[in-house]
């Protein structure tokens, strides 16, 4: 139960030796940062981070309902939070790339929350926001799949939007909501590094998924999304 002074973190935290084992696909060379820790299956009231994540990820079929405004609020809040946490020099130099939504643009459940969040980051000069990664066809959300996809299978579904490729980025921040195993990040990093070999790539997440209390279902049941 969050207390009155339980707030969404203001600083980014790096994945380091203490937390990397929770994200099995990440290696020591992967530079990933996150704001909060999301605790799956605990609901909105569990923590400020849970509330932000669950509102942010509200499914696109809720559009038009009264609750939709909480999603819009969460998108604005996360944009503000990244704006505060990331230093202006980095923001000015980086190309901000949203992780592609699992649904293709033509899918009714297509959700562009990530790119809208990036546009909500306050900045003096326009930011270089580019949807460089394209998801070829709608993927089943990770939890619907029989076998959890590996970075290789995920990468096979990604392509680069060549219309946005110039000028070649030198510093890329891949933005996603929740870091779970890291498979999607590693896939995206590979595809971008292959196309832009000189660019430094890092991952920025609203939250990382926290390990849960003796909850062995985590071994059988993939997390709710990635």
């Amino acid at each position: 139960m969050p207390t009155s002074n339980d707030t969404f973190p203001r600083l980014l935290t790096e994945i380091d030796d203490l937390t990397r084992p929770d994200h099995s696909w990440l290696g020591a060379a992967d530079q990933c940062l996150f704001l909060g820790e999301y605790t799956a299956r605990k609901g909105f009231s569990f923590s400020a981070t849970n509330q932000i994540i669950l509102n942010f990820k509200k499914a696109a079929d809720r559009r038009g309902r009264a609750e939709w405004r909480y999603k819009e609020q969460a998108i604005a809040e996360v944009g503000q939070a990244f704006g505060t946490a990331l230093n202006p020099a980095w923001l000015g130099a980086a190309t901000l790339v949203p992780m592609p939504p699992s649904k293709a643009r033509t899918d009714p459940l297509y959700d562009d929350r990530m790119v809208r969040m990036l546009r909500a980051i306050p900045a003096v000069n326009p930011l270089d926001i580019r949807e460089l990664l394209i998801q070829g066809q709608s993927m089943a959300a990770a939890h619907d799949a029989d076998v959890r996809p590996t970075p290789d299978t995920i990468a096979a579904g990604y392509s680069i939007d060549e219309e946005l490729a110039a000028p070649a980025p030198t510093l890329i921040g891949i933005f996603d909501d929740v870091l779970t195993t890291g498979a999607h990040y590693v896939a995206a990093r590979r595809v971008l590094s292959r196309r832009f070999p000189g660019a430094k790539v890092l991952g920025l997440f609203i939250a990382r998924r926290a390990p849960e209390t003796s909850d062995f279902s985590v071994f059988f049941e993939p997390p709710d999304d990635e």
């Binding site: 002074n5 339980d6 973190p9 923590s47 209390t213």
Partner: protein, 301 residues
Amino acid sequence: MTLEMNLASTAATHLGISPQREMGAYEALWDENGASFKTIFEKLTRRPDTVPSDLVEPSRAEQYRLLVSEAMAKAKVSRYGVRVFGAGEYPGKLRDADHPIALLYYRGWWDLVNSRCVAVVGTRSPSTEGQKRARQLVKALVKDDFTIVSGLAKGIDKVAHETAIEEKGRTIAVIGTPISYAYPAENKELQERIARDFLLISQVPVKRWQNQGPKQNRIFFPERNITMSALTEGTIIVEAGETSGTLVQARHALKQGRKLFILDSCFNNPSITWPHRFADEGAIRVREYADIQRHLSPPAH
């Protein structure tokens, strides 16, 4: 002349904080002369958004990080985490302490911190009756879905943790030694069990603790009681003598705006005066379990 004036802030040199870098910096701060929870808190709050690594040379923080990693490896502690004041998911409720701790170590399942927590504490040498009361109390609290928090000392603490586990409840131990060390030794197995299946928390700096003797390290026991109180909705004292360390927790519980419960049997003991003293200051005298229930938060749906 202050060192921190010469260091660039975390925001300027790194995109984010690194828990292990903060851990090294915390240990380095503790290895300075006159360091205490109070002095470190004061340094951290002199300027907004300061984290331990803003106050320590990076090479020094790295040196201490390595020392702690080695100590943990030697103690066969393979997985542990830290929480950092001002960053990550530092528990907001710890800010109610006099001098909120700059960093804490944990092993186990952090999400227990956000459950409904109540502390059950008392003397290291309880009467048979006292042990029985502790067991009954914990059974009732577990049934009401509370997480039982205690200090893993001998006596009442041990009974509280063990009963919570036997009753298939949840428990958190806030200990006065580093997470890599068990005191008393007889509780080692219980400590490992809690670290594996529940949550073990310590604010004790590993290097400082290793470098000084048991006499100097005694200070960490009452300090952890302050943290234990802050983490919980309330503290229940089962049985305690006039000079018990438990009374530190009683005092801080009231100061932090937490509920303080004292079992009726304590009031009936003519050789102690503390129950009446705390009752005058707002502690709740517990004649039946319902006296506790009505002062704590209702269960979640």
